[in-house]
Symmetry: none
Subunit: 419 residues, 2 copies
């Protein structure tokens, strides 16, 4: 079974609000095995709403309209569905009474505008709205489904979950879709895909890449008669991916790289201190976004000026003068200095040129040195990151987290051989 979504509202087409409803419903439909091959967005215009609904009904087994059910004149979804069904709109007295009660409970009287919301085509059923005044619409037309739900997420989501998805799941005959995301770092999307080309051909479960800034995600999605079978199919595919690319996988589903690092440090019982220059505090911000990070993260120094690199981290002036603030020896001294002065097990030092200004032929914008050290060794990596200022900062912290993750995983900094 496949369904199309039609989001209705001029405010969407003007970009005044982002359509989170469509994404949310798409994810829920995928979970119950309903395919969505097309989504459309139209404004508050009767003719355009009607054509969008008709086109969707030609292509798919049904359409779910989101929004346009409110009390105002530009809420036209009811009229559009009536036109598609070729029926008039009649007042649903039960819903009208509910709307009157809703306002009475607030010491007000329901206006005619408000009561418009109780209108529906005779062949359609109302869907009750526990969090608002506008009921939804559930209709069938030539064996296809026409559903309409109000746009406010706090009304839309419960109505979809409790009244629409169960009906659709029943129609799909219990077939479920489940998926798991494997998160990789340290390898590019195309390189990773090249090693999984054969698996990517699989039709069930499917393997789909998703490139994120500084990460690659692979989503394994399995269709089966029941959750257990789907999970088994996913696990088999995951195993195969892990045998090939396991070294790059740091997490599953929602696990962030900073969460993985904090977890590794916690298990190893090792503390961390960081010295940031070009990243300006972003690394500390990301680490402290992890609840419980205070158990391993002592703190850090943002040594934006050379004077502070000297004063707070003990980077020798000679090093700064001989090699410059953005150099391998400075990154090395920053990592060692912050580790020694803050008394942590691990130390990280980042220095670079985030841009857009400050680049030279020899030291271009995006050049970053990342140093990591523990009691046994210090490793420094040189990278040139593409992108604007914020992107370079993010990539630098991503690289540092990945280096640190590998170091802790492999039992020590000495395991991180220089490239």
């Amino acid at each position: 079974m496949n369904i199309e979504l039609v989001s209705i509202g001029t405010e969407l087409l003007l970009g005044q609000i982002v359509d989170t409803n469509a994404a949310w419903l798409s994810a829920r439909l995928a979970e119950i095995g309903v395919g969505v091959y097309r989504r459309s967005t139209v404004g508050d215009n009767l003719e355009r709403i009607v054509s969008a609904l008709r086109e969707s009904l030609e292509r798919a087994d049904g359409v779910i309209a989101i929004g346009g059910l409110g009390p105002t004149d530009d809420d036209l979804t009811r009229e559009a569905i009536a036109a598609v069904l070729g029926e008039p709109l009649v007042l649903d007295s039960a819903e009208a009474a509910r709307i009157q009660a809703f306002f009475a409970a607030r010491g007000r009287e329901a206006t005619d505008r408000q009561l418009r919301q109780a209108m529906r085509p005779p062949s359609a059923q109302p869907l009750s709205n526990p969090n608002g005044t506008a009921p939804g619409i559930y209709a069938e037309w030539r064996g296809k489904l026409i559903v309409a739900l109000p746009g406010p997420p706090n009304e839309f989501q419960p109505m979809a979950s409790q009244q629409v998805l169960p009906r659709l799941a029943a129609r799909t005959g219990g077939r479920v879709i489940r998926s798991r995301v494997l998160r990789l770092c340290g390898i590019g999307e195309s390189d990773a895909e090249a090693q999984l080309q054969d698996l990517a051909q699989s039709e069930n479960p499917t393997l789909a890449p998703l490139a994120k800034l500084g990460e690659v995600h692979f989503r394994i999605t399995a269709r089966a008669e029941n959750p257990a079978d789907a999970d088994a199919m996913i696990s088999a595919m995951e195993q195969e991916v892990r045998t090939r690319l396991g070294a790059y996988i740091f997490g599953v589903d929602e696990t962030t790289l900073e969460q993985a690092v904090v977890q590794q440090l916690t298990e190893a019982g090792q503390s961390l201190a960081i010295a940031e220059s070009c990243t300006g505090g972003l690394l500390g911000h990301r680490i402290t976004n992890v609840s419980g990070s205070s158990a391993v993260f002592l703190g850090g120094v943002v040594s934006y000026s050379n004077a502070l690199k000297e004063a707070l981290l003990g980077v020798p002036r000679a090093v700064l003068e001989a090699h410059g603030a953005v150099s391998e020896p400075t990154a090395r001294a920053m990592a060692a200095g912050v580790r020694e002065r803050l008394g942590s097990w691990w130390g990280v030092g980042i220095t670079g040129i985030a841009g857009p200004e400050g680049g030279t032929a020899e030291k271009p914008v995006g050049l970053v040195y990342i140093g990591v050290c523990d009691p046994t060794a210090t490793v420094v990596r040189r990278q040139v990151f593409a992108g604007d200022r914020e992107t370079v900062k993010y990539r630098a912290t991503q690289y540092a987290l990945w280096l640190l993750y590998q170091g802790v995983m492999r039992g020590g900094c000495a395991s991180l051989s220089q490239p």
Copy 2:
């Protein structure tokens, strides 16, 4: 002129990501007077992409495709546009060279997959991508426009702003829509709206509120025959808003609060050092997102542990023991300590409980003390912020930036009277 948008990507139809690009571009198109009456979303399926593009070209003066230009096998937008144009795909040697240089700069060789991104229909022009490898596509077909841009927002937005919107604006001529956003801090949306109620009735220019985390924005939009007239209408409305709420306006259009703070400090020739506890580096990150911030931002200390508050900032142990790490005296000592030790004009200290753990009846989650000092005075404010861990961290930095902005604007910390 009206344009349709086609967002391409199975991850969109599976609800794995929310389509913020389409909303962003819709808003920008509205500003230059280009109508958008339909948006569509299709998956990584050649046939469906082609039909979506063809349908849009039947209805509108042009179509902008977003996504599907990457190096992988399921990136099919190039092929779809070639099919619509009835042309083959040929290698753009200049773009191919650029991609090779991109990888060479990183000590790697561009794979064939990567070079696929340099393919284009002969009649189309490439749109250069300063932040990534995939160029965009700009083509004309039977007097209509076909544009394709890569999906990653950090690549998509600059390419749209700098290469696509100017071309479209030139074509629309005549009637234009222009807008200006006024950014406010330190006042709630409803309080601000209450003081602008009459202006909100205006139909041209319009005044629309937009609540952001820790800020309120008002967008003034004017329709006119030419840009000059539109700008004059906007300026008149802006003047009226400023007479009523000028004290809360820190910036216009894209100006962020951190940019406003850095600009004020630069003009005043005053330096800044910060001490962060619960915000973990976010304040430094935000300040260093501003290009040129190094002129005034010396650096900071992330003193996540009490030991570091003592060692790096000289917060007296007696203070920590008597009042605790999250207290007015600690915030005061952090601000003064970082200012003294780093030798800056301004000092900021932030200590609080970001949660979700660590709250008590006396010191709940969200409790944050923010201290600001200069050579003349120190001010500490107590706030309890609602929201999850990241929201509390953000609100705390927002409050600190606003306090600092007011202090610099008014000529000194002493001007910030205790509430």
